[in-house]
Every structure is written in structure tokens, then in C-alpha cells.
Amino acid sequence: MDLSDKLIINKNFKMKKLNLFLLMGTILVLGAILIAADHIEAPGVSGSTADITDYYAFQGDADKIVFVANTQGLLSPTATGDASFDENVMIEFNIDTDQDNTEDLIIQAIPRDGKMYFFGPTPATGNTGTSGTVQIDADVNSVDITEYNGDMQIATNDGIKIFAGPRDDPFFMDFAQYGQIIGGMATSFNNPGDDTFAGTNVMSVVIEVPKSMIGGTGSINTWVETKRK
């Protein structure tokens, strides 16, 4: 079995294997190459329901920004059917509108009983930093969490669109070849490369908001957090 076959087996096994490769790479101190977004994570969150794999922010419609938070990566189709969001984990989108790297606005997504609740965008005052509470007084929207074999569920309200559920992992990279390079079995990438994340899924939370709700014009800094109760 080569590296890419091994990666298909199951999520927990893959995470341990990938962490082992990362450790080897660090010890060997070869020209360590970039690795998958945050797909290979820190010990504290690796493989857990709080594990963020990727973050995207881009213009959807001309006057809107889409925020995508992906979690629980490298899900095989079978594992996806069993995957779920954790009711003790909040996914928080942080938006800094005045360039000081402290959040001014937040959007919080938290699941309960098959629905994903989205609070905000709402001021972050009193809720910045490493711990926080759910802002239940903020504007709230909810959507049924899309099931693996079910119809896609979307909710729309006041210019905001929301979705939560399994999606094809949009990330693409030849991570297997990276493993070959850091393991000392190769000195370059292949051409063409092979997308190690092909055929795998993630649990995604997607929200599209009008730009007017997040500063209107100029530039924002943004990052995503998971917070566990």
C-alpha cells in the first residue's frame, strides 16, 4: 500500500499517521514544504470536532461576502454519514474592521437538535479573546443541518444566507508527495501532481452576508475560531 492508499482507511488512523510524518519532517529538518492548510493540526485539536481544516472569505454576489469554515477533514464517504457537528462547539467568525487585529464583529454558529444557529454579525465588545459566550441577544437565523444523503438545506433572511453540513473538501494539494519529500524519498514534486484530498469530505459552515453589515467598504481582517464549552 502506498501513502495515498493508507490515507483512505479511516480518519483517526490518518490523523495519527499524518502527525507522525510531521514529527519526522521536523526532526529530519529537510526543506519542509507547505502542508495542507491546517489539515495537519496541533495535538490539542487534531481529529476532533473542534478541528478547523480551512477558512475562506470571498465576494459572492457583488455586494456580499461569503465566509466558509471547514472542520473535521479527510472524511471518507462512509465516515461522512456518521459525522456530525458537536453541540458543545461554537464556530466563531471574527471580523476586524479597523486593522488592529482585534475583532470588532463576530458571527457565531452553534448546532442544536439538527439545526445550526447563526448569531450576528454583532459587535464583539466584551466577547473578544480566548473565551466567550453565545450572543443570544443578537439577530439569529437558523437552518436545518443538511444530512449526508439528504437535500441541501439553505435558509435566507434579510440578505443573509446560511448552510451547514457535509461538503466535498474544496482543498487540493499533493500531500502524499509532500510526505515523500519530507521522508527523504523524493526531492521534488511530481508533474502532474495527485490531489490527496480528492474524494474526501469536510463538515462545512457557510454564511453569506451583505458587505454593509461588516463595514461596507475598505478592507477587513478575518479569522475563524472554534470554542469549546
Binding site: 521536523t26 514544504i33 461569503v66 461554537m90 466535498d168 457557510v206 475563524v224 470554542k227
Partner: protein, 182 residues
């Protein structure tokens, strides 16, 4: 009997008025979301923690707020970049953004994604740089090029591109834009 009828009508009227709200919103009670939630993981740009943070510090990086990450990690990132990449080994070595290891490390250490509200949103499209991150951006090749590509992007070609430049499924043209699961 008359008073009971009037009372019943009043109750019915009260319920009717309550349910004829200003729009279709159904007044529902929220579940109980009380409690304190503590930071577990965070992310701004792709690949930063995994490549540039030493093994023993990854959890610490994840629980350092962005406002404090620069002071804590800029110097370590600069060292890591100059050690990893021959194309950023000395102070005179710069990348396509005209940044050397120190400058690039300082940019990356505060792990946030910059997003423009005024125009094209992309990690890098040849013209626009760090104005967002859209689904089709080849962020890995962009970051490899910024680490290994040197001044004009071509210094170490074998390490600057993993030659995987697109997702395995086409994205949707409408919300939620991500393709359905396998």
C-alpha cells in the same frame, strides 16, 4: 355566560393579534446556549501553523489571539523561513512580494485573512495579492512560490509548485458554492 363569552373572545383576539406579526417570523424560544466557551482552534491563512510553528508550540499558537501573535511569533517565523528555504536564506533574499524572511515572517505571524470589500477577493491571481481567499485559489502553490520562488518566483521550480491546481469537483455557481459530498 355573557362574561365567559366576552372573556373567551378577548383571549382569542389576544392570540390572533400576537400571531399576526409584522412578517412571517415565528416567535420561538431559543435553546439554552448558556455557558462559557474556550478557544480550541483558530485559523486565518492556509498552512501557517502547520509549516511555520515548531512542533511543541502548535497548541500555543492556536490559543494566542491574533493581536498577540505578531510579538510572540514574528521572530520565530523569520528564523524558520530562512532555515527552510535557500531562497530566503539571507537578509538580501526576497520573494515576489519584495519581502525577506524577516518581513515575510512578520506578515504571516499575525494569522488573519485580509479581505477587500471593494473589489476582487483572492489570495493571489497574478495581480491582486491577499485580498481574500476564494475556493479556486491555488493557495499551496502561491505559498510555495513565496517561500521557494525567490525574487521572480522561479528560483527553485521543483519545490515551488505541487502541480495540483484545481479541486476534484467543480464548485457551485450559487450559494453555498462548495460542491456536494462524495
Amino acid at each position: 355566560m355573557k362574561y365567559i363569552k366576552i372573556f373567551t373572545l378577548a383571549i382569542l383576539a389576544a392570540f390572533t393579534l400576537q400571531n399576526c406579526g409584522d412578517d412571517d417570523t415565528v416567535v420561538e424560544t431559543l435553546p439554552d446556549f448558556s455557558g462559557s466557551y474556550s478557544l480550541a482552534d483558530q485559523m486565518g491563512r492556509p498552512a501557517i501553523n502547520t509549516v511555520l510553528v515548531a512542533e511543541g508550540n502548535k497548541d500555543a499558537f492556536n490559543t494566542t489571539i491574533p493581536a498577540e501573535q505578531g510579538a510572540a511569533y514574528a521572530s520565530a517565523f523569520a528564523d524558520r523561513l530562512s532555515t527552510l528555504s535557500p531562497a530566503l536564506a539571507t537578509d538580501d533574499d526576497t520573494n515576489l512580494l519584495d519581502l525577506n524572511a524577516t518581513g515575510f515572517g512578520a506578515v504571516l505571524a499575525t494569522d488573519v485573512l485580509t479581505v477587500s470589500l471593494d473589489g476582487v477577493t483572492t489570495f493571489f491571481d497574478g495581480t491582486n495579492v491577499l485580498t481574500g481567499r476564494n475556493l479556486s485559489d491555488d493557495v499551496i502553490t502561491t505559498e510555495l512560490t513565496l517561500i521557494f520562488g525567490g525574487e521572480d518566483g522561479s528560483e527553485i521550480p521543483t519545490l515551488s509548485d505541487d502541480n495540483v491546481d484545481a479541486n476534484d469537483k467543480p464548485f457551485l455557481t450559487t450559494f453555498p458554492y462548495l460542491a456536494g459530498p462524495f
